[in-house]
C-alpha cells in the first residue's frame, strides 16, 4: 500500500514539475513584458509634445513684401527667409549654368511654378547651422547678391545656392504651399 502510494506520487510529481516550471516561466515572462511595456511611455514622453507639434506648420502673410525685400519668419523655432526677387535677381540666377554648381539646382526647381519670384528657404547655413546675413535690411548679401554666412564665409547667390565657402549644400527649401496670393503655409 505504502509502495503503491509512493509510485503514484512520483508520477504526479513528474507531471506537476512540468506544470510548475511552465507557471514560473510564465510569471517571469509576464514581469518582463510588463517592464518592456512601461518603457514605451518612458521613451515616448521625450518626443515633441502636442503644443510643439501644433507649431510644425506656420502660415505667413507675404502681401507686404515688395520686390527686392526679404523677411525673416520663424518656422519650427528656426529662421526661414522669404524673399521677393526682383527681375534682375531672377535673371542673375538664371544666367548661371546649374550643372557647374556644387549643389546643382535651378531657380525654377527651388521655387513654385508661376511664383518664381518667391524664394523661400530656411535661414540655416548648411555648413554648421549659423543664420546667414542678407535677409534683413542693410545686411551684407555676399559676393553673389544672395546671402552670406559670417561664421565661416559661405556665399549664397540670389537663388540661395552655395557658390563659395565651406557649405556643402544650397539653403534648404522647406515644404510649403501658397494658400492664396497673400498667404504661404510652410510645413
Amino acid at each position: 500500500m505504502a509502495e503503491q502510494a509512493s509510485i503514484d506520487t512520483s508520477a504526479e510529481a513528474g507531471e506537476g514539475v512540468r506544470r510548475r516550471d511552465f507557471i514560473n516561466i510564465a510569471a517571469v515572462s509576464f514581469a518582463g513584458v510588463g517592464g518592456a511595456a512601461v518603457l514605451f511611455p518612458l521613451v515616448s514622453q521625450m518626443a515633441p509634445s502636442a503644443d510643439v507639434l501644433a507649431q510644425s506648420s506656420t502660415e505667413i502673410d507675404i502681401s507686404a513684401i515688395t520686390p527686392g525685400q526679404a523677411i525673416k519668419a520663424v518656422f519650427r523655432k528656426q529662421p526661414v527667409f522669404i524673399r521677393n526677387l526682383t527681375p534682375a535677381e531672377i535673371a542673375a540666377a538664371d544666367k548661371v549654368d546649374a550643372s557647374s554648381l556644387r549643389d546643382p539646382q535651378t531657380l525654377e526647381e527651388r521655387t513654385k511654378e508661376g511664383k518664381t519670384n518667391w524664394l523661400i528657404t530656411m535661414g540655416v547655413c548648411t555648413h554648421l547651422g549659423c543664420v546667414p546675413l542678407g535677409a534683413g535690411e542693410g545686411e551684407v548679401k555676399g559676393e553673389f547678391g544672395g546671402y552670406f554666412c559670417p561664421c565661416h564665409g559661405s556665399h549664397y547667390d540670389t537663388a540661395a545656392r552655395i557658390r563659395k565657402g565651406p557649405a556643402p549644400k544650397n539653403l534648404e527649401v522647406p515644404e510649403y504651399s501658397f494658400i492664396s496670393d497673400a498667404v504661404v503655409k510652410i510645413g
Partner: protein, 271 residues
C-alpha cells in the same frame, strides 16, 4: 536615562495637552461657537449624472460641442480657458477647418507686442494658440475656467448646481442672520461657498443659445452641457486614462494570478 526622562517628557506633553483640552472644553461650554449663515445654508452640489461618470464613463462629444457653444456664447465674454488650445477642440469632433474658423472668429484676440516699435496690438487667434485671457474692465480677471471642475469638490456637479442654483435669499436666513443680507451687486446662491457671488445668473432663460443638433436648449440642459464641457477642459485625457487603465489592470490581474501560482510552487515544500 531614556527610561527616566522618557516618562517625564511624556508627562510634560500630556499635561500641556490636558491644559489645552481643559481650556478648550471650558470655552466651548461658556462661549460656544456662534452659528453662521454659511454653515447652515450652504448646500452640497446636486446629484447630477454625466456621461463621463464612473470607471466606464466616456465623454459625450455631442454634449461637449453643445457645452462649448454655451461657453463660447455665454461664458467666454468674461472667463478664459487659458490651458485649452483651439487645436484641442479637434478632440470634440470639430474638423481642422472648423477649428481654424473658431480660432479666427474668437472674440478675444491674441495680444501682440512689436519689439521694434514698442507697439501693442492684437491679431486673430490661430489653431495653436491657447484661448486668450479675458481682462474684464473694472472687475479684475474673473477666474479662468480651464480647471474649475477639478478645483472644486465634485466639480462637474458643482458647476451645474451653481448655474441652476440662483434664488431669492430665503426669508428664514434673514430672520436668523439679519446681518447676512446679500449685499447690493452680489447674488444669492446656496451652492457658492459664502452664499453670495458677484456673477449674476449667466444662463437665465431657455433658448439663450440656439442648439443646432435639435436638443432643446432649456436652462437645465445648457447648464448641464457647459458643466460637461468644463469637466472635459479640466481633464481632457480622462477617456484615454480609463482606456489605458483597463488594459493595465487586465494585464496586472493576469500577472498577479501567475505570481501567486508561482509563489505557491516555490513554497510547496516549505509549508
Amino acid at each position: 536615562m531614556v527610561r527616566l526622562f522618557g516618562p517625564l517628557v511624556g508627562l510634560f506633553f500630556a499635561v500641556a495637552l490636558l491644559w489645552s483640552f481643559g481650556n478648550g472644553a471650558y470655552s466651548a461650554i461658556t462661549e460656544p461657537a456662534a452659528p453662521t449663515a454659511e454653515h447652515e445654508f450652504h448646500l452640497h452640489p446636486k446629484d447630477v449624472k454625466f456621461a463621463s461618470d464612473g470607471v466606464f464613463g466616456k465623454y459625450d462629444k455631442q454634449q461637449l460641442q453643445r457645452g462649448f457653444q454655451v461657453y463660447k456664447e455665454v461664458c467666454a465674454t468674461c472667463h478664459s480657458l487659458k490651458h485649452v488650445a483651439f487645436r484641442d477642440l479637434a478632440n470634440l469632433g470639430y474638423s481642422e477647418g472648423e477649428v481654424k474658423a473658431i480660432a479666427k472668429q474668437w472674440g478675444t484676440k491674441q495680444p501682440t507686442f512689436d519689439e521694434k516699435s514698442g507697439e501693442r496690438a492684437e491679431r486673430d487667434n490661430i489653431a495653436s494658440d491657447y484661448i486668450p485671457t479675458v481682462y474684464y474692465a473694472g472687475q479684475g480677471v474673473p477666474p479662468d475656467l480651464s480647471l474649475i471642475a477639478k478645483a472644486r469638490h465634485n466639480g462637474g456637479a458643482y458647476v451645474y448646481s451653481l448655474l441652476t442654483g440662483y434664488q431669492e435669499q430665503p426669508a428664514e436666513l434673514l430672520k436668523k442672520f439679519p446681518d447676512s443680507k446679500t449685499p447690493d451687486g452680489l447674488y444669492y446662491n446656496p451652492y457658492f461657498a459664502n452664499l453670495n457671488l458677484a456673477m449674476p445668473a449667466p444662463i437665465a432663460s431657455d433658448d439663450q443659445v440656439a442648439y443646432s443638433d435639435g436638443t432643446k436648449a432649456t436652462v437645465d440642459q445648457m447648464s448641464k452641457d457647459v458643466s460637461a464641457f468644463l469637466m472635459w477642459t479640466a481633464e481632457p485625457k480622462a477617456d484615454k486614462r480609463k482606456q489605458t487603465g483597463w488594459a493595465v489592470l487586465g494585464f496586472l490581474l493576469a500577472a498577479t494570478v501567475l505570481a501567486y501560482l508561482a509563489k505557491k510552487n516555490v513554497w510547496a515544500d516549505k509549508h
